[in-house]
């Protein structure tokens, strides 16, 4: 009973937050709603007994990723309203609805046989984090390391791409200097 209430509550909240994210005209609102939705999703993970995933969800998504977006948004002019030429909404909603409906039909149809054998069964009595650690560092060690390398590569790539011409600090220049610089760039 408690589980059901929690599920429906968080389902409603998540859908609402994400809905705001995709419809709002303010980038800041969207960012905030997204972060909130992420946290609500972590609630499902706790309900499902995946404590470790829930924690990761909050730390990585709501913490790191959202912080990254927040920093990224500092580069853009986010205070003004977004002026978008949105395509015809009927088509978009029709397509999205169709996709959702089809998947729901398929999911609700009993097609997957119940007798699935777990490759890495969840063992009762051991904490979720410990169990994940045991699987992660034995069977999934190589993918884990590869993922680590990938993150490193992505980090370096992000720094290099975003950091171009970071040595030029417009804030320490006078207005004339900035104009000169920009004119030179336009000519170039």
């Amino acid at each position: 009973m408690f589980e059901a209430i929690a599920f429906y509550l968080f389902a409603f909240l998540t859908i609402a937050m994400f809905w705001i994210t995709v419809t709002t005209k303010h980038a800041l609102y969207a960012l905030t709603a997204l972060a909130a939705g992420m946290i609500f999703i972590s609630a499902f993970f706790f309900i499902l007994g995946a404590d470790f995933m829930g924690v990761i969800q909050i730390i990585v998504y709501s913490g790191a990723v959202m912080a990254l977006y927040a920093f990224g948004m500092m580069f853009f002019d986010t205070t003004r309203e977004l002026h978008e030429k949105n395509p015809s909404s009927t088509l978009v909603f029709l397509l999205g609805g169709m996709a959702a409906l089809l998947v729901v039909i398929m999911v609700s149809a009993p097609i997957v046989s119940g007798s699935i054998e777990a490759a890495y069964p969840i063992i009762e009595g051991i904490g979720n984090t410990q169990a994940i650690g045991m699987v992660l560092f034995t069977k999934y060690l190589v993918p884990f390391e590869v993922a680590a390398v990938m993150l490193l590569v992505a980090m370096i790539a992000g720094i290099i791409m975003a950091g171009k011409k970071m040595d030029i600090s417009y804030s320490e220049m006078s207005e004339e200097q900035i104009d000169e610089k920009l004119d030179a760039e336009v000519i170039a």
């Binding site: 088509l91 397509l95 089809l102």
Partner: protein
């Protein structure tokens, strides 16, 4: 000895491939010398093998497995026995001579290297044909010599007549090769093997009908390669190729492959004497038929080509009557003097700036002494005067016909012997005797290079001595494989009358030819006569083929072309237009806008989901649907 076998077989290939490396570059003496050297190595190896065979050995090697699927087992196997070694000697001797000769003959040709590549490749194919121990290997060699013949006839491909002749030869051979392939299939179908040993072991158990069919189909293949009637027209046109090619391929070796095939398959043909008689009759007919065409022709090389045709007819008479060793012996002797004749003709052509009409020559014996002697002796050998090679081989065929009581064949062959002597000496007398008519046409004849004459001399010697020196040894050797038969006329009086009578007849023909053509007077009354015109136009057979096959085929092709345009092309174009149209209409999808692309992507996702849902629906309700359909 196996090593010699491989050298004999592969040395020409090495020469050919090496020459091919220089194919596109300028003339280098090296290619000619190297190819000739390789041929000489092959000749020496063949000679050593011959000595081994004379001691009573045969050599059989299986180089490697070629085809082994199911019941079919065909190796790359090569065999050297009494029959093949004879052919090997003929091929390597003549080709070595021709190679050395070609160094001089092709001296001024800019495709010198290419020529040697082709020529050596031909010799390799011929060796495969001769030495293979199974019918499929023979067929590969058979096709190989066909390709090389095509390449060499069309060697001067900028001449339209040369390419035409090359294609004619190739297509005619293709028709015959189809029949030959069918013959091979029949044999495989019934015996389950293509090895000669297996075929000869099992051939006695087959019924007569199958044997006859196999024999006829194989012989049709032989007819194509040996240019027997009605597939004979290509040989005369093949004279478009360089003269050494005519000497090697279209006189001495390739065209005799048909005879070789019949000789090689002798256990098969022994069982079907009816087919043998047909072969002999056709041979006699072709001997006469070709000789008559040679009587009036005005093209030096064509006259010799018809003579070759006629002599091939002789060989088939002997082979058809079961005298296989006689056929093979005449093949050998003929190869020597006919190659010599062609090479001599090549010298004359060189001297006369490629002029081929003997009526424009005359009196060349002063300018070209060596060539004159060689060609005269070769013609004497061809005419069959004692003690030259032709006497021993050709008169033997006459005796075979006589002893086997085929008197009609005998008469035809005897008459043909007279015709042979006549046209040979008509040619010799027109070229070398009489007035020096060439001066009118402004030619300045000169003798060929010395080494070319030296290269020809082995053939001259062989043409003189091959008969009386080799006949005994050859007979002793070859009866190990081929049915023996002395073919002596038992009545001494008849024998001497026959022999001396034939000689006198032939000599009379020679003298008549000399008298008639020494002054090269053209008798207009004879020339406008029906028979002269008939012979001069080759019995109108090329024209008949043109009217009967070529023109209807062209018409048919034109019609088919229209159908092709209306049906095949139209449907292909239609399909292309559909795609072109859809592409034209839908290229607006590719507007480069990421957002619209994403929308298309989602549309695709929905389409995939729909198909997945339908599929799942069908699978899960399969029973119900089956019931519904059943009801």
């Amino acid at each position: 000895m196996e090593m010699y076998l491989y050298i004999a077989l592969f040395a020409p290939l090495v020469g050919s491939l090496t020459a091919a490396l220089f194919g596109a570059s300028k003339k280098t003496m090296f290619t000619g010398l190297f190819a000739s050297g390789m041929l000489f190595a092959s000749f020496v190896s063949s000679l050593l093998l011959l000595i081994g065979v004379l001691e009573g050995n045969t050599y059989h090697v299986e180089m490697m497995t070629w085809i082994a699927t199911g019941d079919l087992y065909v190796p790359f196997g090569f065999v050297v026995n009494e029959v093949t070694v004879t052919m090997m000697m003929v091929v390597t001797t003549v080709s070595t001579v021709v190679h050395v000769y070609s160094i001089g003959y092709m001296d001024h040709d800019k495709s010198f290297n290419r020529f040697f590549s082709y020529l050596s490749a031909f010799v390799f194919s011929m060796m495969v044909l001769v030495m293979s121990d199974n019918l499929l290997g023979l067929f590969i060699g058979w096709e190989g010599v066909g390709v090389c013949s095509w390449l060499l006839i069309g060697f001067w491909y900028h001449k339209e007549s040369a390419t035409w002749a090359a294609n004619e030869a190739f297509i005619m051979n293709r028709i015959a090769d189809l029949a030959m392939l069918i013959g091979i299939f029949i044999i495989y179908w019934n015996l389950g093997t293509l090895q000669y040993e297996g075929i000869f072991a099992g051939v006695n158990e087959l019924n007569h009908g199958v044997l006859t069919a196999a024999g006829i189909f194989l012989f049709v293949g032989a007819m194509g390669k040996s240019a027997q009637f009605p597939l004979h027209t290509w040989l005369a046109d093949a004279m478009e190729g360089p003269t050494p090619v005519s000497a090697l391929i279209h006189a001495a070796t390739m065209v005799t492959a048909g005879v070789y095939l019949v000789v090689r398959m002798n256990p098969l043909y022994d069982l079907i004497p009816d087919v043998g008689l047909f072969i002999a009759s056709l041979g006699a007919f072709v001997a006469m038929f070709a000789a008559t065409m040679a009587l009036v022709n005005r093209d030096m090389k064509r006259i010799i080509a018809y003579s070759t045709l006629s002599q091939l007819g002789y060989m088939f008479v002997a082979a058809g009557l079961g005298a296989y060793w006689v056929a093979l012996f005449h093949l050998m002797a003929h190869a020597f003097f006919k190659a010599l004749l062609f090479l001599g003709a090549g010298n004359v052509m060189h001297a006369m700036d490629n002029e081929l009409d003997p009526f424009k020559m005359g009196g060349l014996r002063k300018a070209m002494k060596g060539t004159f002697i060689m060609m005269t002796l070769a013609s004497v050998a061809l005419a069959g005067i004692f003690p030259f090679a032709g006497f021993f081989s050709k008169d033997l065929i006459l005796e075979v016909a006589f002893v086997e009581h085929h008197y009609i064949l005998y008469t035809v062959l005897l008459l043909t012997a007279g015709l042979t002597a006549f046209y040979s000496f008509r040619l010799v007398s027109l070229i070398f005797h009489g007035e020096e008519r060439y001066k009118l046409f402004g030619f300045h004849p000169h003798e060929a290079y010395k080494y070319m004459l030296v290269a020809m001399s082995p053939l001259l010697i062989l043409a003189i001595i091959a008969g009386f020196l080799f006949k005994g040894t050859y007979y002793e050797m070859v009866i190990a494989m081929l049915p023996a038969g002395e073919y002596h006329v038992h009545n001494q009086v008849v024998y001497w009358v026959m022999t001396i009578g034939t000689q006198l007849f032939v000599i009379a023909a020679i003298l008549f030819a000399y008298r008639k053509y020494e002054n090269a007077k053209i008798d207009l009354k004879v020339e406008s006569g029906f028979f002269y015109q008939l012979l001069f136009n080759q019995y109108y057979i090329p024209k008949l083929y043109d009217e009967l096959f070529s023109k209807p085929y062209v018409e048919l092709s034109k019609m088919m072309w229209k159908i092709d345009n209306a049906v095949v092309d139209a449907s292909v174009d239609g399909i292309a237009n559909v795609f072109y149209g859809t592409g034209n209409k839908t290229h607006t999808m590719q507007n480069g806008n990421l957002s619209s692309m994403l929308r298309w992507m989602v549309l695709g996702l929905v389409a995939l989901l729909v198909s997945a849902a339908v599929f799942i629906g069908i699978v899960t309700n399969a029973d119900a649907i089956m019931k519904l359909l059943g009801a």
